[in-house]
């Protein structure tokens, strides 16, 4: 199946490109990659990257270079819900290691792994700027803060609904 944005997504690309001066459409690369990741199952395949390159009139390697640099772009398929647990200093002080352990206990996945039902992926990430509300993780667009075992249970339960 060829990769193709919907009409609405294409309009969004157009809006993004219009924010920069003429000929500087490369600036739209990061936002367009975010959009593509959202539209095509939470990850960026090589076909998707090539499609983005053709949309923005870039050579494919320019897109590969960028997509592999930033940690938010998934270049492998991920589960429906991605738990991105922060493990840097301030979160560690407040017990992020235990949260990572607990996710393993509950779902049987280590960082980088996805459950066999394809529902959950666990990722460890570095500082997300929520140090005062530690331990925390990112799920999609939002942060889940002040994590406890109970809260993790709750998040898993609501994701399964």
């Amino acid at each position: 199946m060829p990769v193709q944005f919907s009409e609405t997504a294409l309009a969004e690309v157009k809006r993004l490109v219009a924010r920069y001066p003429e000929g500087k459409q490369k600036s739209a690369l990061l936002p367009v990659l975010h959009l593509a990741q959202e539209q095509f199952g939470g990850w960026l395949s090589t076909e998707t990257l090539d499609y983005v390159a053709s949309l923005l009139q870039l050579s494919p390697i320019e897109v590969y270079e960028v997509a592999t640099f930033y940690s938010m772009y998934n270049l492998q398929p991920v589960g429906k819900h991605v738990f991105e647990v922060c493990q840097t200093g301030p979160c560690m002080l407040n017990g992020s290691d235990e949260i990572i352990e607990y996710v393993w206990e509950k779902l049987g996945i280590r960082p980088g792994q996805t459950t066999t039902d394809g529902l959950f992926t666990l990722k460890t990430v570095e500082c997300l700027g929520a140090c005062g509300y530690a331990p925390m993780m990112q799920m999609g667009k939002h942060y889940r803060e002040h994590l406890t075992r109970d809260k993790v249970d709750q998040i898993i339960a609501e994701s399964r609904k």
């Binding site: 924010r19 001066p21 500087k24 490369k26 600036s27 739209a28 690369l29 990061l30 936002p31 990659l33 975010h34 923005l56 320019e62 270079e65 960028v66 640099f69 930033y70 940690s71 938010m72 772009y73 493990q87 840097t88 200093g89 301030p90 560690m92 002080l93 407040n94 290691d97 990430v125 570095e126 500082c127 997300l128 700027g129 929520a130 140090c131 005062g132 509300y133 530690a134 990112q138 999609g140 667009k141 939002h142």
Partner: protein, 450 residues
Amino acid sequence: MGRKLLLDKAHVENIRLYEVYRREGGYRSVEKALKSMSPDQVTDEVKKSGLRGRGGAGFPAGLKWSFLAKPEGVPRYLVVNADESEPGTFKDRYLMEFIPHLLIEGMITSSYALGSTTSYIYIRGEYAWIVDILEQAIAEARHNGWLGKNILGSGFDCDIHVQRGAGAYICGEETALLESLEGKRGNPRIKPPFPAVKGLWGCPTVVNNVETIAAVVPIINEGGEEYAKIGIGKSTGTKLISACGNINKPGVYEIDMTISVEEFIYSDEYCGGIPNGRKLKACIPGGSSVPILPANLLLKTAKGETRLMNYESLADGGFASGSMMGSGGFIVMDDRQCVVRHTYTLARFYRHESCGQCSPCREGTGWMEKILLNIETGKGKMSDIDLLWDIQRKIEGNTICPLGDAAAWPVAAAIRHFRDEFEWHVNHPEEAQTRNYGLAHYADPLVLTA
């Protein structure tokens, strides 16, 4: 109770909305600047205010503005650095999340001063929901005539766009940020030329932190000289501190820079002391990159003077016995915490965030992480401590951008002040493997009065 200039209205209900923000006196600075001041006068007020960059380096903002090249026929840009990624720092997030219009207002006034008709906010990709908040604030501002063509009939045009990053600490470095904004890898540029001459798309550019730009609002409203009266010495105005770690009340606080570190940690108005009856062991006062200080050196300088929460006092004693104000990420550690383990997580962070462009940082950060993990898990040797010291020394100052220094300083300071804790890990390998914390003999120098 210190004076609040940025967060005084943060708790007003619905201050996020334009109507409320305007009713509370918002956008006055734009009116004042565009109707009664020339761009240079705005810059002069910022100079007079003594405002220092709030991103971490503390460079005088007015001076930075005055370096901006102004060749004929070339656009100039203001780019706001909202790529807040320094561990321990979450103040800009608070500002953007709760009073987004303050940033937009500051940006319009600053853009006017700098002659930037298109300004950008580069925000870290993880703050995805804040992008929506900012976009809404911008739409409201545009709708009410604060953005667009010929604002307030002044002839000044301005528009603001929000650019989302995608997960890279290095993009907080201003030239890496510009590269990223141009749609490239976040590799810092080799300087000179500086952004003031060749920045975004080769045009003169000023990059300022969110808090710096927000501070322009009270500076214009009250006048630079009034602003400079707050604070002490070269630490003028107020500063947002994001406090985290082992404290009762983590969060973002606005302080005037005259209060003591002791008051900040123990007063109920701020951090509210250490939880669970624990003692203060150490603190990283300005974000993970700045040197860690043990409790005794944190509260009092080596000369025995009370240490204050400002640029000069925190840096008193240099790196031998002082630290830095940095970005205001205040990380407190209680006596259960292990400095080696904490330093290891930071080393891992910097290895993960190194862009890989220059060799000392690319190879050195990973090497330090490996050695620290060995020591932390009881596999270290005594000579590893000296080796770590030597590696950090060879990274510091020899890299393209300050990330090398930022990776080296925490390791250096941890060894400088907590060497015996490293040695303990080497001497007690079995215990180091089973417990997650190290020595706890650093006496709390405070005689706590109940």
